[in-house]
Protein backbone atom coordinates (compact mmCIF):
# COMPACT_ATOMS: atom_id res chain seq x y z
CA UNK A 1 0.00 0.00 0.00
CA UNK A 2 2.79 2.39 0.96
CA UNK A 3 4.64 1.58 -2.28
CA UNK A 4 1.50 2.33 -4.28
CA UNK A 5 1.12 5.70 -2.59
CA UNK A 6 4.76 6.52 -3.29
CA UNK A 7 4.32 5.53 -6.93
CA UNK A 8 1.21 7.71 -7.24
CA UNK A 9 3.03 10.65 -5.64
CA UNK A 10 6.00 10.28 -7.98
CA UNK A 11 3.73 10.01 -11.00
CA UNK A 12 1.86 13.14 -9.94
CA UNK A 13 5.12 15.02 -9.42
CA UNK A 14 6.41 13.90 -12.81
CA UNK A 15 3.20 15.08 -14.47
CA UNK A 16 3.39 18.34 -12.52
CA UNK A 17 6.96 18.99 -13.57
CA UNK A 18 6.03 18.31 -17.18
CA UNK A 19 3.20 20.82 -16.86
CA UNK A 20 5.56 23.34 -15.26
CA UNK A 21 7.96 23.04 -18.18
CA UNK A 22 5.11 24.04 -20.49
CA UNK A 23 4.21 26.99 -18.26
CA UNK A 24 7.87 27.97 -18.04
CA UNK A 25 8.21 27.95 -21.83
CA UNK A 26 5.56 30.66 -22.00
CA UNK A 27 6.80 32.72 -19.05
CA UNK A 28 10.25 32.97 -20.63
CA UNK A 29 8.99 33.95 -24.07
CA UNK A 30 9.81 37.57 -24.96
CA UNK A 31 6.13 38.58 -24.90
CA UNK A 32 6.08 37.79 -21.19
CA UNK A 33 9.57 38.07 -19.78
CA UNK A 34 10.35 41.45 -21.38
CA UNK A 35 8.28 43.11 -18.67
CA UNK A 36 9.41 40.80 -15.84
CA UNK A 37 12.85 42.35 -15.51
CA UNK A 38 15.02 42.73 -12.43
CA UNK A 39 16.28 46.13 -13.55
CA UNK A 40 14.74 49.59 -13.64
CA UNK A 41 13.78 49.29 -17.30
CA UNK A 42 11.65 47.09 -19.58
CA UNK A 43 12.88 45.27 -22.64
CA UNK A 44 11.45 45.00 -26.12
CA UNK A 45 11.73 42.77 -29.15
CA UNK A 46 12.52 39.09 -29.52
CA UNK A 47 16.17 39.89 -28.76
CA UNK A 48 14.98 41.45 -25.49
CA UNK A 49 16.98 44.63 -25.86
CA UNK A 50 16.57 47.52 -23.47
CA UNK A 51 13.51 49.67 -24.19
CA UNK A 52 14.48 52.68 -26.28
CA UNK A 53 14.32 56.30 -25.03
CA UNK A 54 15.78 55.38 -21.64
CA UNK A 55 12.38 54.32 -20.37
CA UNK A 56 12.51 53.86 -16.59
CA UNK A 57 10.48 51.53 -14.36
CA UNK A 58 9.43 54.31 -11.99
CA UNK A 59 8.08 54.08 -8.45
CA UNK A 60 4.88 52.22 -9.38
CA UNK A 61 6.21 50.16 -12.31
CA UNK A 62 4.43 52.51 -14.75
CA UNK A 63 7.31 54.73 -15.81
CA UNK A 64 8.20 58.18 -14.53
CA UNK A 65 6.14 61.33 -14.75
CA UNK A 66 6.06 62.67 -18.34
CA UNK A 67 7.40 59.34 -19.56
CA UNK A 68 4.84 56.94 -18.21
CA UNK A 69 4.10 53.68 -19.98
CA UNK A 70 0.75 55.21 -20.94
CA UNK A 71 2.51 58.16 -22.56
CA UNK A 72 2.80 55.84 -25.57
CA UNK A 73 1.09 52.52 -24.79
CA UNK A 74 -2.66 52.92 -25.10
CA UNK A 75 -5.40 50.45 -24.22
CA UNK A 76 -5.03 48.59 -27.51
CA UNK A 77 -2.34 47.83 -30.06
CA UNK A 78 -1.59 50.58 -32.55
CA UNK A 79 -0.80 48.50 -35.62
CA UNK A 80 -0.33 51.57 -37.81
CA UNK A 81 2.69 52.60 -35.73
CA UNK A 82 3.81 49.30 -34.23
CA UNK A 83 3.34 50.47 -30.65
CA UNK A 84 1.77 47.67 -28.60
CA UNK A 85 -0.99 48.42 -26.15
CA UNK A 86 -3.25 46.87 -23.56
CA UNK A 87 -5.22 47.77 -20.48
CA UNK A 88 -3.07 49.26 -17.70
CA UNK A 89 0.25 48.72 -19.49
CA UNK A 90 3.03 48.41 -16.91
CA UNK A 91 6.04 46.42 -15.78
CA UNK A 92 5.62 43.46 -13.48
CA UNK A 93 6.73 44.40 -9.96
CA UNK A 94 10.25 43.47 -8.89
CA UNK A 95 8.77 40.77 -6.67
CA UNK A 96 7.83 39.04 -9.93
CA UNK A 97 11.18 39.38 -11.63
CA UNK A 98 12.15 36.41 -13.77
CA UNK A 99 15.56 37.72 -14.77
CA UNK A 100 18.80 38.65 -13.06
CA UNK A 101 20.44 42.07 -13.11
CA UNK A 102 22.32 41.11 -16.28
CA UNK A 103 19.03 40.61 -18.11
CA UNK A 104 19.45 36.84 -18.15
CA UNK A 105 16.45 34.62 -17.31
CA UNK A 106 16.54 33.02 -13.88
CA UNK A 107 16.66 29.23 -13.78
CA UNK A 108 13.46 27.29 -14.19
CA UNK A 109 13.58 26.40 -10.48
CA UNK A 110 14.02 30.03 -9.44
CA UNK A 111 11.16 31.25 -11.61
CA UNK A 112 9.00 28.41 -10.33
CA UNK A 113 9.62 29.39 -6.71
CA UNK A 114 9.03 33.04 -7.54
CA UNK A 115 5.66 32.29 -9.14
CA UNK A 116 4.60 30.08 -6.24
CA UNK A 117 5.58 32.67 -3.67
CA UNK A 118 3.39 35.39 -5.14
CA UNK A 119 0.04 33.79 -5.91
CA UNK A 120 -1.88 30.78 -4.66
CA UNK A 121 -3.21 28.31 -7.20
CA UNK A 122 -6.63 29.87 -7.67
CA UNK A 123 -5.26 33.37 -8.12
CA UNK A 124 -2.50 32.17 -10.42
CA UNK A 125 -4.96 30.33 -12.63
CA UNK A 126 -7.19 33.40 -12.78
CA UNK A 127 -4.18 35.59 -13.57
CA UNK A 128 -3.09 33.37 -16.44
CA UNK A 129 -6.62 32.95 -17.73
CA UNK A 130 -7.95 36.49 -17.47
CA UNK A 131 -5.33 39.18 -16.87
CA UNK A 132 -5.49 41.54 -19.88
CA UNK A 133 -1.72 41.89 -20.14
CA UNK A 134 -1.33 38.09 -20.07
CA UNK A 135 -3.94 37.81 -22.82
CA UNK A 136 -2.09 40.50 -24.78
CA UNK A 137 0.78 38.02 -25.31
CA UNK A 138 -1.47 36.13 -27.72
CA UNK A 139 -2.63 39.31 -29.43
CA UNK A 140 0.63 41.28 -29.53
CA UNK A 141 -0.06 43.23 -32.68
CA UNK A 142 2.38 44.23 -35.37
CA UNK A 143 5.92 45.50 -35.22
CA UNK A 144 6.75 48.91 -36.74
CA UNK A 145 7.73 47.09 -39.97
CA UNK A 146 4.24 45.61 -40.19
CA UNK A 147 5.15 42.01 -39.37
CA UNK A 148 3.27 40.21 -36.62
CA UNK A 149 5.05 39.86 -33.28
CA UNK A 150 6.15 36.37 -32.28
CA UNK A 151 3.64 34.50 -30.13
CA UNK A 152 4.43 32.39 -27.05
CA UNK A 153 5.16 28.71 -27.83
CA UNK A 154 1.75 27.47 -26.61
CA UNK A 155 -1.75 28.64 -27.33
CA UNK A 156 -3.43 30.51 -24.51
CA UNK A 157 -5.75 27.53 -23.92
CA UNK A 158 -2.76 25.18 -23.69
CA UNK A 159 -1.04 27.60 -21.31
CA UNK A 160 -4.05 27.76 -19.01
CA UNK A 161 -4.46 23.99 -19.10
CA UNK A 162 -0.77 23.48 -18.29
CA UNK A 163 -1.16 25.88 -15.37
CA UNK A 164 -4.20 23.95 -14.20
CA UNK A 165 -2.31 20.64 -14.39
CA UNK A 166 0.66 22.10 -12.55
CA UNK A 167 -1.54 23.40 -9.75
CA UNK A 168 -3.44 20.10 -9.59
CA UNK A 169 -0.12 18.28 -9.15
CA UNK A 170 0.77 20.50 -6.20
CA UNK A 171 2.93 23.06 -8.05
CA UNK A 172 6.16 21.05 -7.96
CA UNK A 173 9.36 22.88 -8.88
CA UNK A 174 12.47 21.46 -10.55
Amino acid sequence: MFAVLIALFLAQTTDGLAAWQKVHSVLTSPRCINCHTATNYPQQGDDRHRHFANVIRGPQDKGVVALNCATCHQSQNANSTGVPGGQNWHLAPLSMKWQDLNDQPLTSAEICRSVKSQLDGAHLLKHHAEEPLVLWAWNPGRRPDGTVRTLPPLTHAQFVEATRQWIKAGTPCP
Binding site: V65, A66, L67, A70, T71, S75, A78, T81, V83
Partner: protein, 154 residues
Amino acid sequence: MKAYHLVVNGERKSVTVDPSTPVLWVLREDLKLTGTKYGCGIGACGACTVHLGGLATRSCLVPVSLVGDRKIVTIEGMSRDPIGRIVQDAWVDKDVVQCGYCQSGQIMSVVALLKANRKPTDTNIEESLGGNLCRCGTYVRIRDAVKSAAEKLA
Protein backbone atom coordinates in the same frame (compact mmCIF):
# COMPACT_ATOMS: atom_id res chain seq x y z
CA MET B 1 -16.61 58.89 -40.09
CA LYS B 2 -17.94 59.53 -36.64
CA ALA B 3 -18.64 62.59 -34.50
CA TYR B 4 -16.49 63.14 -31.41
CA HIS B 5 -17.01 65.73 -28.71
CA LEU B 6 -13.74 66.76 -27.14
CA VAL B 7 -12.66 69.20 -24.46
CA VAL B 8 -9.50 70.93 -25.69
CA ASN B 9 -7.85 73.60 -23.57
CA GLY B 10 -11.07 73.96 -21.63
CA GLU B 11 -13.27 74.47 -24.69
CA ARG B 12 -15.77 72.01 -26.09
CA LYS B 13 -15.01 71.02 -29.67
CA SER B 14 -16.80 68.70 -32.05
CA VAL B 15 -15.17 66.94 -34.96
CA THR B 16 -16.34 64.33 -37.43
CA VAL B 17 -13.43 62.11 -38.38
CA ASP B 18 -12.44 58.51 -38.94
CA PRO B 19 -12.22 56.77 -35.53
CA SER B 20 -8.61 55.79 -36.19
CA THR B 21 -7.47 59.38 -36.72
CA PRO B 22 -4.65 60.20 -34.30
CA VAL B 23 -5.38 63.04 -31.89
CA LEU B 24 -2.40 64.89 -33.37
CA TRP B 25 -4.14 65.23 -36.71
CA VAL B 26 -7.47 66.13 -35.17
CA LEU B 27 -5.70 68.96 -33.35
CA ARG B 28 -3.72 70.18 -36.31
CA GLU B 29 -6.04 69.59 -39.26
CA ASP B 30 -9.52 69.85 -37.80
CA LEU B 31 -9.04 72.24 -34.89
CA LYS B 32 -6.14 74.21 -36.45
CA LEU B 33 -4.11 73.98 -33.25
CA THR B 34 -0.77 73.69 -34.98
CA GLY B 35 1.44 74.26 -31.95
CA THR B 36 1.55 70.50 -31.44
CA LYS B 37 4.10 69.17 -33.90
CA TYR B 38 4.40 66.07 -36.04
CA GLY B 39 7.89 64.63 -35.65
CA CYS B 40 8.18 60.90 -36.17
CA GLY B 41 4.61 59.62 -36.04
CA ILE B 42 5.63 56.55 -34.01
CA GLY B 43 6.01 57.95 -30.50
CA ALA B 44 9.78 58.09 -30.67
CA CYS B 45 10.51 61.83 -30.58
CA GLY B 46 8.02 63.51 -28.25
CA ALA B 47 7.25 66.50 -30.50
CA CYS B 48 3.53 65.74 -30.43
CA THR B 49 3.20 65.58 -26.64
CA VAL B 50 -0.05 66.85 -25.17
CA HIS B 51 -1.73 66.27 -21.82
CA LEU B 52 -4.52 63.73 -22.05
CA GLY B 53 -6.46 63.35 -18.84
CA GLY B 54 -3.55 65.05 -17.10
CA LEU B 55 -0.96 62.62 -18.43
CA ALA B 56 1.75 63.61 -20.88
CA THR B 57 0.82 61.61 -23.96
CA ARG B 58 2.11 61.22 -27.51
CA SER B 59 -0.83 62.47 -29.53
CA CYS B 60 0.41 60.75 -32.68
CA LEU B 61 -0.28 57.37 -31.05
CA VAL B 62 -3.78 57.93 -29.68
CA PRO B 63 -6.70 57.36 -32.02
CA VAL B 64 -9.46 59.85 -31.33
CA SER B 65 -11.78 56.94 -30.58
CA LEU B 66 -9.82 56.20 -27.39
CA VAL B 67 -9.96 59.71 -25.94
CA GLY B 68 -13.35 59.25 -24.26
CA ASP B 69 -14.06 61.96 -21.71
CA ARG B 70 -10.42 62.72 -20.98
CA LYS B 71 -9.56 66.40 -21.34
CA ILE B 72 -6.91 67.43 -23.84
CA VAL B 73 -4.47 70.25 -23.10
CA THR B 74 -2.07 71.44 -25.78
CA ILE B 75 0.76 73.96 -25.91
CA GLU B 76 -1.86 76.60 -26.82
CA GLY B 77 -3.37 76.10 -23.36
CA MET B 78 -0.12 76.54 -21.48
CA SER B 79 -0.25 80.32 -21.26
CA ARG B 80 -3.41 79.98 -19.13
CA ASP B 81 -1.86 77.33 -16.89
CA PRO B 82 0.02 78.81 -13.89
CA ILE B 83 2.89 76.34 -14.20
CA GLY B 84 2.78 76.44 -17.98
CA ARG B 85 3.16 80.22 -17.94
CA ILE B 86 6.17 80.02 -15.64
CA VAL B 87 7.78 77.35 -17.82
CA GLN B 88 7.22 79.38 -20.98
CA ASP B 89 8.73 82.45 -19.32
CA ALA B 90 11.74 80.38 -18.26
CA TRP B 91 12.12 79.20 -21.84
CA VAL B 92 12.31 82.81 -22.99
CA ASP B 93 14.61 83.87 -20.16
CA LYS B 94 17.07 81.07 -20.88
CA ASP B 95 16.78 81.50 -24.64
CA VAL B 96 16.26 77.75 -24.92
CA VAL B 97 14.98 77.54 -28.45
CA GLN B 98 17.10 77.05 -31.53
CA CYS B 99 14.91 75.84 -34.39
CA GLY B 100 12.04 75.36 -31.95
CA TYR B 101 10.33 72.42 -33.59
CA CYS B 102 10.53 70.08 -30.60
CA GLN B 103 9.97 72.73 -27.95
CA SER B 104 6.20 72.54 -27.59
CA GLY B 105 6.57 68.86 -26.81
CA GLN B 106 9.45 69.57 -24.45
CA ILE B 107 7.40 72.17 -22.58
CA MET B 108 4.40 69.84 -22.28
CA SER B 109 6.61 67.18 -20.71
CA VAL B 110 8.27 69.70 -18.40
CA VAL B 111 4.93 71.03 -17.19
CA ALA B 112 3.80 67.46 -16.47
CA LEU B 113 7.02 66.91 -14.55
CA LEU B 114 6.71 70.10 -12.49
CA LYS B 115 3.06 69.46 -11.67
CA ALA B 116 4.17 66.23 -10.00
CA ASN B 117 7.59 67.26 -8.73
CA ARG B 118 8.40 70.87 -7.82
CA LYS B 119 12.05 70.10 -7.06
CA PRO B 120 13.28 67.82 -9.83
CA THR B 121 16.86 66.64 -9.73
CA ASP B 122 19.03 66.37 -12.82
CA THR B 123 18.19 62.67 -12.86
CA ASN B 124 14.46 63.37 -12.63
CA ILE B 125 14.74 65.80 -15.55
CA GLU B 126 16.77 63.42 -17.70
CA GLU B 127 14.44 60.48 -17.00
CA SER B 128 11.23 62.40 -17.55
CA LEU B 129 12.47 64.05 -20.75
CA GLY B 130 14.18 60.93 -22.08
CA GLY B 131 11.53 60.59 -24.76
CA ASN B 132 11.73 64.18 -26.02
CA LEU B 133 14.40 64.55 -28.68
CA CYS B 134 16.00 67.81 -29.80
CA ARG B 135 18.14 67.63 -32.90
CA CYS B 136 19.53 71.10 -32.20
CA GLY B 137 20.93 69.76 -28.94
CA THR B 138 19.40 72.34 -26.63
CA TYR B 139 19.35 69.89 -23.74
CA VAL B 140 21.63 71.93 -21.47
CA ARG B 141 19.47 75.03 -21.85
CA ILE B 142 16.34 72.94 -21.36
CA ARG B 143 17.70 71.66 -18.06
CA ASP B 144 18.61 75.20 -16.99
CA ALA B 145 15.13 76.41 -17.84
CA VAL B 146 13.48 73.57 -15.95
CA LYS B 147 15.53 74.43 -12.87
CA SER B 148 14.75 78.11 -13.26
CA ALA B 149 11.03 77.38 -13.47
CA ALA B 150 11.27 75.04 -10.47
CA GLU B 151 12.94 77.78 -8.42
CA LYS B 152 10.09 80.16 -9.23
CA LEU B 153 7.59 77.53 -8.15
CA ALA B 154 9.36 76.81 -4.86
